[in-house]
């Protein structure tokens, strides 16, 4: 069997791009949440619940867009619950986040089990990839860049939008203010709890979009623990990116390149490395950890991250 280099490159780079929205949606949403001083460690659980919702609604209605919409609704609802507990009641954000993760992990599978049962299921309807006219005909580059799912382009646009929102809009300024100095923001007439509520819900809805995308753009399936830690990886990426949207894009792309390269390598050299594929599977994570001493050094979290705010 001969392996064409161009095929390998197309494989690696198109997987890199195809996986990016997962981390970008989850990561960008969490950046906004954390900039407001609240960390939602439960996005993994939200992603699982929204992934299941997408699955169930898609199979029931045959409409992937409706499925995404339902997933966003479920995610937003979990966001409201998180905000009530962690912002309103000021419960420990880490514990509430982990509890949301555990509940989502368990509940999504129980629901799936009941939904799927033993009956024959209809086929999953996914969102087809976009073929941008002319550009997608360019060899190699066209296949990598211009034949992706529409949500891939949306995720890339969102990097710019979130950066603009946080840096240039007055609501973005308020989000940063309640994360850096809620007391001062309060004195200036900003409703700290309201801003944090909105930031949490925004982050949750985007985590929901990440879960929904993973299904309509990728898996078209559901399994127990199907996100398998990718939500937590998104949390790590923000840290390496020092809460910057563009740096998050960089972190996501570089992680995905390592991931795609190792999985391409494992599938090509499967016989040569028999039994060691799991060692290669560890590479992307080890790579991410190795980035800490290099990139994480200057990381400075929002000053009031994890600190609940009480008026007066």
């Amino acid at each position: 069997m001969t392996v064409l280099l161009s095929d390998v490159l197309i494989g690696i780079f198109s997987t890199t791009l195809r996986l990016s929205p997962l981390y970008l949606f989850a990561g960008l949403g969490e950046i906004v949440t954390e900039k407001s001083g609240v960390a939602n460690m439960g996005i993994e659980g939200i992603m699982l619940m929204s992934l299941f919702t997408t699955y169930a609604v898609d199979l029931t209605t045959g409409n992937p867009w409706l499925a995404i919409l339902a997933a966003l609704g479920v995610a937003g609802l979990i966001g409201v619950i998180f905000a009530l507990l962690a912002v309103q009641m000021r419960l420990d954000q880490i514990v509430v986040g982990l509890a949301i993760y555990l509940s989502g992990l368990g509940l999504s599978f129980v629901l799936f089990n009941t939904f799927a049962g033993t009956r024959a299921l209809p086929a999953f309807v996914n969102i087809p990839n976009v073929h941008i006219p002319y550009l997608s005909d360019i060899p190699v580059v066209g296949q990598i860049l211009f034949q992706q799912n529409i949500l891939v382009y949306f995720a890339l646009a969102l990097v710019v939008l979130v950066s603009y929102f946080l840096g240039r809009t007055s609501l973005g300024l308020r989000v940063r203010a309640v994360g850096e100095n809620p007391k001062a923001a309060d004195n200036m007439g900003v409703n700290v709890l309201k801003v944090r509520f909105l930031a949490v819900i925004f982050g949750a809805v985007l985590a929901g979009l990440a879960g929904a995308y993973f299904n309509v753009g990728f898996l078209q399936n559901f399994q127990f623990d199907i996100i398998s830690g990718r939500g937590f990886i998104a949390l790590a990426m923000i840290y390496f990116a020092n809460w910057g949207p563009y740096k998050t894009l960089f972190a996501a792309l570089s992680f995905n390149i390592v991931y795609a390269t190792q999985s391409e390598f494992v599938s090509i050299a499967s016989t040569a490395i028999a039994g060691s594929s799991q060692l290669f599977n560890m590479l992307p994570y080890v790579f991410l950890l190795a980035l800490i001493p290099i990139l994480g050094r200057k990381a400075r979290p929002p000053k009031y991250l994890l600190k609940p705010y009480k008026k007066g």
């Binding site: 514990v95 982990l98 129980v110 127990f224 623990d225 937590f232 560890m282 994570y285």
Partner: protein, 344 residues
């Protein structure tokens, strides 16, 4: 007043646990199971079946070790969410010693298996510790990521270096022979020496930590780095000691789990979520060595019951995660209410 406060905290915790149980029953009812049978299985199975009793004892020992580790690190304000990974490494190291150090005489190898597991857990937390102390990296994120790495590493070891030569297809390790198992205290009663061992270790740690100035130092670091610096406490020293203790205890838990319960590794042993239970038990036990012991015993009991309940009611065992999640929030909310009442 102090007595009343304790009573209230206990009452709130009981309410939180009841809330978790109700959540579990709602899921059972939704999935079409028999709620009445589920409820009696949940509470009675851990007492009435031999395997139930055995599992409660073993789990108590393992949970206690892991949760003590989490609790000690929490005193210093550090979150070890990676106890699961450290437990996996501990289990793997038992078999690494058993297979690759087989030339050692029996008692030496027996002890080496336990020590190597402890060392493995300790080494697994070295990276998060260095990254936290030296680079200020968030230990929650790093220990979480290392869980994924540990699981992959465990699968790799299971598929190669520690795989049983007779395993074809589905990989598993050889079974530890009786002389490498931790024996029962009384002949037929399923209580191994792992349990008194964990309790003795708890007593030891109680005197080493709760009754020494180290407790105050750790608490100070946990509450305010500024105060700690002002008081001349070496923050890195406290962080390193508490983190390494957490890793070592979870690794040791892995050794006990293999040597007194599973006796072999297959893919199934990697997917428990005991690292999270350790976090819950540490919080419920209010980071205190004795409180953590009581909480660990309770969670050993309730998780065994819940798993039996899931099987009985034909619901996926992942219902246990839902119950744990609801209990966690309930316990936090209880603490919040208790504090609000004291404040008024």
């Amino acid at each position: 007043m102090q007595g009343l406060r304790w009573l209230r905290v206990t009452a709130y915790n009981a309410a939180a646990i009841a809330l978790g149980v109700i959540a579990g029953l709602v899921v059972v009812a939704y999935a079409g199971g028999n709620v009445e049978v589920a409820l009696s299985t949940l509470f009675l199975n851990p007492f009435t079946t031999k395997s139930g009793v055995q599992q409660v004892f073993v789990r108590f020992a393992i949970f206690y070790l892991m949760a003590m580790g989490v609790g000690i690190a929490l005193k210093a304000g550090l979150w070890n969410i990676g106890a699961q990974g450290q437990l996996i490494i501990g289990m793997v190291m038992v078999f690494v010693a058993y297979i690759y150090l087989a030339f050692l005489p029996w008692p030496v190898l027996y002890v080496t298996m336990i020590l190597l597991a402890t060392l493995g857990g300790l080494l697994w937390i070295v990276a998060p510790t260095i990254l936290r102390v030296r680079f200020g990296a968030n230990e929650i994120v790093v220990t979480l990521l290392l869980n994924v790495v540990a699981t992959n590493f465990g699968y790799y070891m299971l598929n190669g270096p520690i795989k049983s030569p007779i395993a074809i297809g589905y990989p598993y390790t050889a079974t530890l022979p009786a002389k490498f198992q931790i024996p029962n205290i009384v002949g037929g009663f399923p209580l191994t020496y792992a349990v008194p061992f964990a309790i003795v270790l708890g007593v030891l740690l109680y005197f080493l930590i709760e009754r020494t100035p180290f407790r105050v130092q750790a608490n100070t670091v946990g509450e305010s780095a500024e105060t700690a610096r002002y008081a001349g406490i070496s923050i890195p020293r406290v962080m390193v000691i508490t983190m390494l203790a957490a890793g070592a205890l979870a690794g040791l838990g892995g050794a006990l789990l293999q040597m007194s319960y599973f006796y072999h590794i297959d893919a199934g042993v990697f997917v428990t979520n005991w690292g999270f239970i350790a976090v819950i038990a540490a919080l419920v036990g209010r980071k205190h060595i004795i409180g953590i012991g009581i909480a660990s015993l309770f969670f050993a009991y309730i998780t065994i019951g819940a798993e039996a309940m899931a099987l009985q009611a034909n619901v996926p065992t992942s219902v246990v995660f839902v119950m744990e999640g609801v209990m966690m929030i309930g316990i936090l909310a209880g603490t919040y209410l208790a504090e609000r009442r004291t404040a008024m």
